[in-house]
Symmetry: C2
Subunit: 201 residues, 2 copies
Amino acid sequence: MAGKVAARKAALREKLVDLAEAQIAAEGLASLRARDLAKQAGCAVGAIYTHFDDLNALVLEVNGRTFRRLGATMARAVDGAEGQSPNARLTTMAQAYLHFAADQPTLWRALFDVEMSADGPVPHWYLDALGNLFSYIAEPLAELFPDLPARELDLMTRALFSSVHGIVLLGLERRISGVPVDQIEQMIAQVLSQIGNRSVS
Amino acid sequence: MAGKVAARKAALREKLVDLAEAQIAAEGLASLRARDLAKQAGCAVGAIYTHFDDLNALVLEVNGRTFRRLGATMARAVDGAEGQSPNARLTTMAQAYLHFAADQPTLWRALFDVEMSADGPVPHWYLDALGNLFSYIAEPLAELFPDLPARELDLMTRALFSSVHGIVLLGLERRISGVPVDQIEQMIAQVLSQIGNRSVS
């Protein structure tokens, strides 16, 4: 009996994450409403809050899925590319990041927009997913800068991730700073081809 | 008589931009409400729309001011630094950008957030203000890459601006990817010190 209740609860939790993911994918993070989700899931609004502290916690679950897919996409992009130069591998991963973002802009944006309005601690598994992404970048960077202390390599990894993120973010922006995707690809290659050779100041 | 009416209209327009700027500075773009502005300005809500097509047009005016201040800040940062290396000047400007953003995060964010929800053409003077910002970056870049065709130099300028923007954006983000300002400074220097020497791929 208890097993059945637990299974039903887990199924509802999963369903709510599925529905939230579909809603964010279709209309973006700002369109997410607890009332609409409850209606679609066939539960009371209050039932959402027995599973999640608040809507942000639900969004973090969706983002966790997105992060894992993004990590898998980047890993796939450099699978078998071990023979290429570190710059080439960095660029290949960054292009994979760009296309991931361009193909599912609302889910991608939710990764970065959720935190702005929320307070409270970030779950550990969330930071782990982000750390996992960073580890793909750190590997070719360590080849480019074999003598860089770990702390600086870590900062450089964040710096390059953030750089590519900025190029993708402003480049995909439709109205003011937007450019065609092939030009975004070119901008990424321009910057990443420069990394290496010089000592880091 | 007509002169007095025109002057009163111009004064109300100016006052509305002042009030919107103060509101965005204090509580961010999302807090802006036509009703509140009208109340503070002592006018009818409809009077706002005789001056501006919509609230976004008013935000663009505020952003125009912010862009001009930002441009002046970056120009001041490298005033008298003509003898420094192009990398040093790029880094100095980028640090000025970081501190501008850190000191007035809501006005800075409004520069990039306004367009996402809006349709319609971007005013020419707005694009000019952005182009003016880019021109400060293009100058040291042209020294680093004297043989780069103008079109690629233009892309590289956007790419570096976007890179620094990404580092500042994620670095100032409080919860998930945030780091102390001195580490943001270090990330900027790490990336910008790498630019040059290599041919652009």
